[in-house]
């Protein structure tokens, strides 16, 4: 089998199952690729080649022994460094967690291991998932394989870049306000934020507990569905985990059919503020969906205008509390422990040095928003907006089966371009945030390159909570039509590096 790194996860798994190629060969090919290109891309913070090869050898041995393994057995994966993995460094892109090796596996990691997926290592991210560019990592930025001077999106830029650079065919991301979808959009890959509670959060280092959701990332819709099926499902260790059957996303990706579906265009998520090339590719994709047999309707979600404001109150509030535990007392960085400083001073020195500017900014915002006397005006009002957004979605889903929008207002911007302008950075998530506030599901998939800069454009599909399969029906149908049009997937056009 030639060029293992450019194959889809489904194809690799099938070849491994048929013993046309070994899991060790597949893993080695990807480790070699990481060795060859990751100096340029910097998608990974930690690669555990030894463990990956040992796991791959185990898969090969069991297949040789006639065991029937899962549909992704032996396929390598890149794991966002926000999920714990027993004994493997987990930094969340922060200096404050430098050197910490968790004593336990996240639920998602347990499920990946149980599915015999080979975890290559941990990928770079904005510190504690705060950012849209991966520039806020304490370990340096990740670069977009389409243009190494540009950002790969964030916070999950490492996972998306690993896919686009062919360092891994599968990746896990987490999405609090768009951290799976926006990186997918700007790297020409596919990413899904499942319904809140569909994938257990146990072992996902919390940014904003009521918004965080782990999800699958890949280079095509079917691989994404296969990975989705592995990681989704109830876990009693996460009280917010949904105890309902997982929708059959793989079957939906196979059906790839939008005939008779009503697809809603959200008035608030188009037009002004969107790059011309982004709008153009998006509108073309909508016409393709119509051509495939869907009915296009326009829906109005007036409260979406307040989504960004509400999000930047709720997220910092929860984050200020979630990040309190990083105090230098029990794990990670500790400064000032010299017998001269008090406990309070050790905590302050550690947090001062351990957190980056964006994290401090959001801790301050959240601390303020939760303060007595301000709580009602800020956190309380934001929760009301959240309810209104849920109602807008409910009304929109009464007239449409799914909603669509551009995933991000622009293509990948240049590294350094927005790093000193937090508000401009926050606007990247304007189309992705409403879904997190409402807790429903969304996918980003590539729909072409923008005319003005030749960079990937993503389309977002949004589905009601617990109807994640609709994302795959629409995504797979659109992907197939575009592949027919181009003769290949968009990712094939990515630079060779």
């Amino acid at each position: 089998m030639s060029d293992l790194i450019r194959q889809s996860a489904a194809v690799l798994a099938e070849a491994i199952r048929r013993r046309e190629v070994s899991a060790v060969e597949v893993t080695t090919a990807h480790l070699d690729r990481i060795g060859a290109v990751d100096d340029q891309v910097h998608a990974f913070l930690h690669v555990d080649a030894e463990a990956a090869l040992a796991a791959a050898a185990g898969v090969d041995a069991r297949i040789a022994a006639g065991e029937v393994l899962g549909p992704l057995a032996g396929v390598p994966l890149a794991l966002k460094d926000v999920l714990t993995m027993h004994g493997v460094p987990t930094t969340c892109g922060s200096r404050i967690l430098q050197g910490w090796r968790p004593p336990y596996d996240a639920s998602v990691v347990e499920r990946l291991r149980a599915a015999d997926i080979i975890i290559l290592g941990k990928t770079n991210m904005d510190e504690f998932a705060m950012g849209s560019s991966t520039e806020h990592s304490a370990y340096g930025p990740t670069r977009n394989p389409w243009d190494l001077d540009r950002i790969p999106g964030g916070s999950g830029g490492g996972s998306a870049a690993a896919l686009a650079a062919f360092e891994a065919p599968l990746a896990i991301g987490t999405d609090t306000g768009g951290s799976i979808r926006q990186p997918a959009a700007v790297t020409g890959t596919v990413g899904v934020k499942p319904t809140y509670g569909a994938v257990p959060r146990y072992g996902l280092v919390a940014l904003a507990s009521s918004l965080d959701q782990a999800g699958p990332c890949a280079r095509n819709v079917m691989d994404t569905a296969l990975l989705h099926a592995v990681i989704a499902g109830h876990d009693p260790r996460d009280s917010t985990s949904l105890d309902v059957p997982v929708p059959d996303v793989v079957a939906a990706a196979q059906r790839a059919d939008v005939r008779g579906m009503r697809i809603g265009l959200v008035r608030q998520l188009t037009g002004e503020g969107y790059q011309a090339g982004v709008s153009q590719r998006f509108e073309e994709a909508v016409r393709i969906l119509e051509h495939l047999g869907a009915t296009i309707v326009e829906v109005d979600c007036p409260s979406f205008d307040y989504a960004l404001g509400a999000y930047y109150l709720i997220l910092p509030s929860e984050a200020s509390s979630n990040l309190a535990r990083f105090d230098g007392m029990r794990y990670g960085l500790r400064l000032g422990d010299d017998g001269e400083h008090s406990v309070e001073q050790v905590m302050s020195l550690t947090r001062e040095a351990g957190f980056g500017a964006e994290v401090k900014r959001r801790i301050m915002l959240g601390t303020y928003a939760l303060s007595s006397g301000y709580y009602d005006a800020y956190y309380g009002s934001a929760q009301k907006v959240r309810t209104l957004i849920q109602r807008d979605f409910a009304a929109a889903f009464a007239s449409a089966d799914v909603l669509v929008s551009p995933t991000a207002p622009t293509t990948a911007f240049r590294i350094g371009e927005k790093v000193d302008d937090p508000l401009a950075m926050y606007l990247n998530d304007i189309a992705t945030i409403p879904v997190n506030l409402a807790g429903n599901a969304a996918m980003s998939l590539p729909v072409g390159l923008a005319a003005e800069d030749g960079l990937p454009v993503g389309l977002q599909v949004m589905a009601p909570a617990m109807a994640d399969e609709r994302l795959y029906l629409v995504g797979a149908a659109l992907e197939a039509a575009l592949r027919d049009q181009w003769g290949h997937l968009l990712i094939e056009e990515a630079p060779a590096l």
């Binding site: 987990t90 968790p102 336990y104 280092v205 509390s321 309190a324 406990v343 601390t367």
Partner: protein, 509 residues
């Protein structure tokens, strides 16, 4: 406002304080629930394990870990709420209380804030007054659930407190143990009875927890902790500024803490001073408190609903089920026992105040007459407990042992004096009743010849006494009886000695 500098008078006598001021109390009681596992994880809760042996990612608050509510803890809390006549919320949430402290793994405590599981109840308590028992209704503001913190030990330094310590150790075994907090509404109108009402309330609460079987409520192990809020105001004036006294670790100290705080505040107010809103630290040894944290500028805990947990929404059916599991409550039980034993309210109060109700009941169940059971527990044994500064229930004496002692007394082989020595032996760990009797040789000397020999020896020692007795001065017999008792180390029946003596001298009364 005049200076708060402490005057020559730091405290004034309690009665004098009450002449000018009325106290307002508020009691916050924390109870560790006796669940097998912690509030939000499956770690065991047993007391006394090696430090940090009963921990996991959840109760250590490791990044990524998540809490799951202990159903038994919720049930216990609902049962407590029902027993305290509270309304049970049909929907409530946990909240995060945010503050930095090294005993708190997450630097926030998962607690309940504006949505407690139980609210608006009451508990009636009885105190003994000169005019007989008086009932006070203590109103309950709320009962809520939370997780305990770890335990800090400060090493080095003189005080064992954080300031001046060389280093501190943290044991997270306690972190995450289910706690409930029971908060009273302000308790007014108790006047001079305030210390007794406070003690009676905590005692009643303790007995209630024990009856419900939700906690072992051992104050010395910290499974029941009480914070005493107290303020004074002149009659007719608005309430004064309150202090909060912590580290009140026994029932006796609840009473003492109220008393000492009333005395301290009254002295300060009478000297023209101002009460500072502060936390105070009670000292068991001196019975006084020293200032701790000032609460003038209230700490902002930035409470918000805990997003890692779903709301607790007990159904009516569940609550009704739990209501059927409520045992006989202590007040009802007391009424029943008073009737069964046929004693007065005052007599029952003596038993209750001694903390002897269960013990007396168990002793009666072992076959002892109620009067004898009460006599031992509220007499000899209570004195022993007080001498040792322990609770009566901490004495290693059982109802069965008292039954055995009573049987030996009835058989004439022990008397009360010897019985006391048996108790002494049991408490000293010398074994069961018969072991102590045998080892110490505690048997009434009933052999007449031995007694007559002792009488003769005593008469020989005090030759004038025989003359007095035969001359009709029978009270002189006491000197001989005493000498015989001494010679037999108390192991004789005094009445029998006297009879033998008179017989020996050939006289009759």
């Amino acid at each position: 406002m005049s200076t708060t500098k402490s005057s020559a008078v730091d405290v004034i006598p309690f009665d004098q304080a009450l002449a000018d001021f009325e106290p307002v109390l508020g009691l916050e009681v924390h109870v560790e629930l006796g669940t097998q596992t912690k509030m939000f994880c499956a770690c065991p809760t047993a007391f006394g394990a090696e430090p940090n042996a009963q921990v996991c990612p959840v109760c250590l608050g490791l990044p990524g870990s998540m809490p799951v509510v202990n159903r038994t803890a919720v049930e216990s809390t609902i049962r407590i709420g029902l027993a305290l006549n509270c309304a049970i919320a049909s929907w409530c949430r946990f909240a995060r209380k945010n503050y930095f402290y090294p005993d708190m793994p997450k630097d926030y405590q998962v607690s309940q804030y504006d949505e407690p599981l139980c609210s608006n109840g009451y508990l009636d308590v009885t105190v003994q007054t000169q005019d007989g028992p008086q009932v006070f209704r203590v109103e309950i503001e709320r009962v809520h659930m939370e997780e305990d913190t770890g335990k800090l030990t400060h090493e080095g330094g003189a005080t064992g407190r954080i300031h001046g310590a060389d280093y501190s150790l943290v044991d997270y075994n306690r972190a995450g143990i289910p706690l409930i907090e029971i908060v009273t509404k302000p308790i007014v109108g108790t006047g001079a009875l305030a210390p007794l009402v406070a003690r009676a309330y905590v005692t009643e609460l303790r007995d209630l927890m024990r009856a419900l079987g939700v906690s072992d409520v051992r104050m010395e192990e910290g499974s029941l902790r009480c914070d005493v809020n107290c303020s004074l105001n002149r009659p007719g004036d608005p309430w004064g500024t309150r202090s909060e006294t912590k580290n009140v670790n026994s029932l006796r100290s609840v009473e003492r803490a109220v008393r000492s705080e009333v005395e301290r505040q009254a002295a300060l107010l009478l000297a023209g001073g101002r009460i500072i809103q502060e936390t105070r630290h009670f000292h068991e040894d001196t019975g006084r408190s020293t200032p701790g944290r000032s609460k003038e500028h209230a700490e902002d805990y930035r409470y918000f609903p805990e997003p890692d947990l779903v709301p607790v929404a007990p159904s009516d059916a569940w609550i009704d089920d739990l209501r059927t599991t409520l045992p006989e409550l202590p007040s009802a039980r007391r009424e029943r026992l008073q009737q069964e034993w046929g004693i007065s309210a005052f007599e029952l109060m003596s038993v209750v105040n001694a903390g002897a109700l269960e013990l007396v009941e168990a002793t009666i169940a072992a076959g002892v007459d109620q009067a004898a059971a009460r006599k031992w527990w509220t007499g000899e044994l209570l004195r022993t407990a007080n001498d040792r500064q322990v609770e009566l229930s901490d004495l290693p004496v059982t109802g069965e042992q008292i039954a055995r002692i009573e049987a030996l007394i009835a058989a004439g082989s022990l008397n009360d004096k010897l019985a006391r020595q048996v108790f002494e032996g049991i408490i000293a760990g010398e074994g069961d009743v018969d072991d102590v009797v045998a080892a110490r040789g505690l048997v009434i000397v009933s052999d007449d010849s031995a007694l007559i020999a002792a009488i003769d020896a005593a008469l020989a020692e005090q030759p004038d006494v025989a003359e007095k007795i035969t001359g009709g001065k029978f009270q002189a017999a006491g000197a001989i009886v005493g000498a015989v008792m001494k010679a037999t180390k108390g192991q004789a029946d005094a009445a029998k000695v006297r009879a033998l003596l008179l017989e020996r001298l050939g006289v009759a009364e």
